[in-house]
Symmetry: C2
Subunit: 494 residues, 2 copies
């Protein structure tokens, strides 16, 4: 599967021929790396999924619910921006495992990390990081989390998934709210007893505000904040928390400035109304810089600045959910940094591409008492290590600058397609490479996604009618060209 | 840090001198392994935590809430049942990262797995396993999950943590309940609209029953089921779900058979009362085979059998939370298998020592529709791989049989101490090596834990006054001897 090569200390070697940024600093020991370079373009042997994938799906269905399978990849063969499946199909991957691969399949530097002693020790001795952190955790945390911390964020609570980050973020807002309200007095008997029965005053009914169309995860607290699709929520009990409207903007933004401004005004006003009138105290609001799962809905930096001001005015924690937008997809480490907030968020949540999940917070938001925010694993050191390594690579290779350039090319291409095929496509929009375009109806969108996959473009859908693109940070100009050419052919094939 | 050794194909080599079961089958390539064997006994250079740990705690506190730190280990030096910290202190680890290390620190076979190509590829290409499962996932799932599946369990929903397993387990019970109630008709307009506002009928108010003293995790749904300590729950909103009493048995069990039977009768009756009278329909009950965090509370197999019958009679899903008891600690793969249920549970949850987390379920419990139970990562293939490898090692080395033997020795030793020091200790109890003993009050317990740690015994606490032992599956008779001798000295030091 792999060939091994020897490198001399600090030799700088190009392990892949294309794209250009696949280069690697390696130390003086044996490094395994895939024996091939990135394909020049997608190529399909079968429809997607092919017969071997279907056969494996059937086998897998003995042991798990295999109905969600798109195709069965061979990750030993996949490389860079290309996903290769067991039927020999080669996809240009613009979906990246629901936006969760940052630097290409089998990135040689990450493979090298994964084969290091440091990684092996961290992997087999997974600690309770809060009680027994590894001796080198200060450095790893600094390199992974702190070197790219959003402005105003002092520390991190490591978690294992986006949902856990959301759950603990809203818990932290509740803790902070109640602690402040109690004004330093100790818990009383009534609180200590009622809480064990899930009742007030120990367990008070407070609320968290989210936005129509939002996605914040699927555990029951997070799911109460999620408003993207009914099927995610139906039949599940939820907290009776309110939702505010999220601006429904018209694209391209520059053509509809006035209408969009009015729409954002309406939403801000409605948020303020809810905050001032909701019967249970609202302790936090949570928002995505771009609503992803909900249909790639954007809003202006001005909207988010005003929202942050409303939150501050109403003393409501302002939580930014960067699980999908974060770690570079916008061309900045964190999409919300483009808002240029005067007052930083109260928390920033991350997961997916960073491999590590967690909560960034200012020191003042730390839980008042120990064991209020805690769990067995409290993150995972191997994930902190890989995040640290990825941060170094992204910085060294200027990948954020590339995302900006490539994002503009991609958006321009999508806008051109929307103009050329107005009966099929509309509303091209993007933030970095976090791009989308709508079909005129769900059936057309679904057909287009299917045709694209059959033509070697792995793309996703979001909301009712959107096609979402979530390429990796290694998506280069040549990939944009391939994507746009092929995607246009797919539109013509409709 | 490591020395490398070469092995010939299939050579069977003892990499550690002690204990005996550290032996390993390795293939014909270079394998890294720690260059030392397990220490003969604990040895302390400083108090716990020592000055270097305290210094690192201070540094770590810049980046995270470091108040929970017990000591800062050096995992590159820790080996087998011994945790070694940065101050050079050598602990016999009877706590195992809150019961989450199965086969010893730096287990050479797991290190070997962690350095394999298979592992590296799975680690750097973390997939959306539900949509894009790896080509070898059928085999890995079979070896990890299915070869040791509890009776009656057909399939698995992989998750990333115990809390996520609990959250999705209760969601599944809600889905199943509502689907059955709807009798096959499609969702109506009222349901589809109300659900987006978190309101009935789309999001109905149903309940899940848990037990006083239970611990099921810390995300808001799971936390609504957790009843172990007020500080975990205070100030956090919760679902208004009911709790039933868990039997408060007297130990040793054989001396109090009559009283304990009466106590269990009382609890069963109360469960039935709650199920028949609670205003919101109860769709599931969830229970630990031994209440762990809540203070190591045991109940008889008869109690659990009757509980399962009550659940079946009332048509309530019976969920067994084996997050802490599972994966061998009881001397069986799953502690609930000792109950010899006639009707299998509706779900079994696992995490911690198995490294993989998830839900075992019978096929009939599968979610009615796609994307009802789903998330980005849906488990993690490297965790499935390590679970598969651990299953093989445990089976080959008969570690479950060893856990039974060692557990009896440990329990006998604790009972002897309880008899010898009746003014300090009482209520020794155990299930496999899942053992505990109570001090007469919390202050004594806390002091004893502290003295033990200062003497090189890493132990934990649970509930108000219990000391909990959670050794690894590799805990051997010689470790029991060392533990009992040292622990007695600690009691004398009080």
């Amino acid at each position: 599967m792999f060939v091994s090569r020897s490198f001399t200390r600090n030799a700088r070697c190009t392990l892949f021929n294309s794209p250009r940024f696949y280069s690697v600093e390696v130390s003086s020991r044996r490094v395994f790396s895939p024996a091939f370079s990135e394909p020049q373009q997608p190529s399909m042997q079968t429809l997607c999924p092919g017969p071997r994938s279907l056969q494996m799906q059937k086998k897998l269905d003995q042991y798990m619910d295999a109905r969600h399978i798109v195709t069965v990849p061979d990750y030993t063969k996949s490389v860079g921006n290309y996903l290769i499946d067991v039927d020999g199909n080669v996809f240009l991957d613009c979906f990246a495992q629901i936006s969760s691969i940052a630097l290409g399949y089998n990135n040689p530097e990450l493979i090298s990390l994964a084969k290091s002693d440091k990684h092996a020790v961290a992997f087999v001795n997974r600690p309770c990081t809060a009680m027994f952190p590894p001796h080198d955790y200060v450095e790893t945390m600094k390199e992974a989390f702190m070197n790219i911390a959003p402005a105003g964020m002092d520390e991190v609570i490591p978690m294992t998934s986006g949902s856990e980050a959301v759950e603990n973020g809203i818990k932290l807002a509740m803790l902070s709210h109640a602690h402040l309200k109690r004004g330093g007095r100790e818990f009383n008997k009534d609180e200590l007893e009622s809480v064990m029965n899930n009742l007030a005053p120990g367990s008070p009914d407070v609320a968290v505000l989210s936005f129509a169309g939002a996605f914040h995860g699927r555990t029951t607290g997070a799911l109460s904040l999620t408003r993207s699709k009914a099927i995610h929520k139906l039949d599940i009990s939820s907290f009776k928390w309110p939702q505010a409207p999220f601006p429904q903007l018209k694209y391209p933004l520059h053509k509809f400035e006035k209408e969009n401004k009015a729409e954002e005004d309406r939403c801000i006003q409605e948020v303020d109304n809810i905050l001032s009138s909701h019967k249970a105290p609202i302790v936090a609001m949570i928002i995505e810089p771009v609503q992803a799962e909900g249909g790639d809905k954007h809003a202006s930096p001005e909207f988010f600045r005003r929202l942050r001001d409303v939150a501050a005015k109403r003393k409501v924690a302002f939580i930014v959910d960067e699980v999908q937008t974060g770690f570079g997809a916008s061309g900045e480490w964190w999409a919300h940094s483009k808002w240029q907030l005067e007052k930083a968020p109260d928390m920033v949540l991350f997961s997916k591409k960073s491999q590590s999940a967690g909560i960034y917070l200012p020191r003042r938001m730390r839980a008042p008492f120990t064991y209020q925010i805690f769990n067995t694993w409290y993150g995972e050191p191997v994930k902190t290590q890989i995040m640290a390594e990825m941060v170094k690579i992204v910085e060294r290779d200027n990948l954020l600058a590339q995302v900006k350039t490539v994002g503009q090319q991609l958006l321009h291409g999508l806008e051109t397609l929307a103009e050329k095929y107005p009966d099929t496509l509309h509303s091209a929009r993007g933030n970095g490479t976090f791009c989308a375009i709508d079909a005129h109806d769900a059936a057309t969108r679904d057909r287009l996604v299917s045709i694209a996959r059959n033509n070697g473009l792995m793309i996703g859908s979001s909301g009712a009618t959107a096609i979402r693109l979530r390429p990796m940070l290694t998506f280069a100009p040549e990939h944009v060209k391939i994507f746009l050419n092929l995607f246009e052919k797919c539109v013509q094939e409709l």
